[in-house]
């Protein structure tokens, strides 16, 4: 077996070790390369930044623990921005398995800023039905969520003063890991109830949401860990996303090198086969 053949059949555990080292070492020894801000992320940031105080900001945390590494930092960065701007935060989730995680993250960030549940923010929790919940909220928010996640009646809470439906929401962002997610919020929410909508998603999903971004159906898109890192840089509070970018950089470059090597060996083998074919 030639060297090229042996390299193409290399034990995949060696590749696993390479990827593992590329992920671990930058986390232990961070480099801190500068992060360029994309227009997509700036779209969301600028819109929130220009909102007047006490505007109603709806954040739908439509993800489960599987997508936590990418979407949790996005949520933390956006909530920090919203609380800094003294917006009224209404959080919820359309994914039942993400409910506990969403409540915990909202509570932790709110406590950083001394925000009061019921006055400055509310977590509505989860309600079954997926897209039906969005429509129901658009018709009557108190019908969709008669009580919040803690069991307190939603009607009468100061944070929801003047908010009867999605029509009264100033800005909504869906951080989605699938369906229901950003597309569902546009189709069943923004299109009918006419509020401004932004999106956040995993890196894998981001290219699929560019048509919505280019047509103005969403005014910004935070894609994956990179998007979260950009948002953290914009708010001036670097966190897990920025820390993770070094590891992601190393892993991307490692995969590119592996793919390049694979193609070099592949073409070497092809040339050898052709030469043997012409000789025989």
């Amino acid at each position: 077996m030639s060297f090229a053949e042996r390299m193409l059949k290399i034990d995949r555990r060696i590749i696993f070790v390479v990827i593992g080292l590329c992920t671990l070492l930058p986390l232990l020894y961070p480099v801190g390369l500068p992060i360029k801000i994309s227009p997509e992320v700036r779209g969301v940031y600028d819109y929130i930044d220009q909102l007047p105080e006490q505007s109603v900001f709806l954040l739908s945390l439509d993800f489960d623990p599987a997508s936590k590494p990418e979407l949790h930092p996005q949520a933390v960065a956006m909530l920090r921005h919203a609380f800094k701007k003294n917006l009224r935060v209404v959080a919820m989730t359309l994914w039942v398995s993400g409910t506990g995680m969403a409540d915990e993250l909202l509570t932790n960030v709110a406590n950083e800023f001394g925000k009061q549940r019921g006055t400055d923010y509310v977590f509505l929790g989860w309600s079954p039905g997926g897209t039906a919940v969005i429509i129901n909220m658009g018709q009557d928010l108190y019908n969709a969520f008669p009580s919040d996640y803690g069991g307190k009646p939603t009607k009468g809470q100061p944070v929801l003063d003047g908010v009867n439906s999605l029509k009264d929401v100033t800005y909504a962002v869906s951080l989605g890991a699938g369906n229901p997610g950003v597309e569902a919020w546009y189709v069943f929410g923004k299109d009918k109830y006419k509020f401004e909508l932004g999106g956040g998603c995993t890196g894998v999903m981001a290219p699929g949401l560019y048509p919505l971004l280019r047509s103005g159906q969403i005014n910004g898109l935070i894609g994956g860990l990179r998007g979260a890192a950009e948002y953290e840089s914009l708010i001036g509070q670097k966190g897990r996303a920025v820390a993770g970018m070094d590891a992601q950089s190393a892993t991307h470059v490692a995969i590119i090198v592996l793919v390049a090597l694979c193609n070099i060996f592949y073409f070497t083998l092809r040339r050898q086969a052709r030469q043997q074919g012409s000789q025989s």
Partner: protein, 216 residues
Amino acid sequence: MIFLRRQMPLLITMITGLIFAAQYYVPHPASEQLLTSATKWLQIIGGFALVLGVTSLFHVHAAKIRRKEAGWGYSVVLYVGMLGTIAVGLWANGKESVEGVSTAFGWVYNFMMVPLQGTMFAILAFFIASAAYRSFRARSREAAVLLIAAVIVMMGRVPLGEYLVPISGDISQWILNVLNASVRRAILIGVSLGAVALSFKIIFGVERSYLGGGKE
């Protein structure tokens, strides 16, 4: 009997489908109230669907355990996990924390579900790298174009890539905003038109697969 199994569901589908297709364009308060009521029913049915899903899961795995089929041990693990979580959840009244103190249900969620789900997706990175090494080869011109575009986007989406090749960031943005967006839009329009056609077929009873099998 055939009327109840065939004609009536088709009639309900057609009437409801036409009413709610028209409802979207009728801003009258009665129309809005109809939508509110219908979505409330949908939420209730969604809640029942959860119960149905769990019951079905129990039933399937109970059969597997009874017949001692291959992998029945995993079915036992599933049973233990589900029953344990349900019991703990009921005991904690569905609350993950009470006055800041984590309940047993919260413990199961935070220390079992969250790490397990995260781990499942984290190991994907390793398999993707291995699969990319074995199969991402420029066997043809199209594969070569795909490979080059993928490399540019991978470089452009990380700070190290933009540092090493500064232009990769701008090119990857162009690929995503122009090439990718246009093609995705075309696919989205095609899929949406297909969904509209399928919806019409279901509403008018041409497509009946949702009724299930069985001879008339």
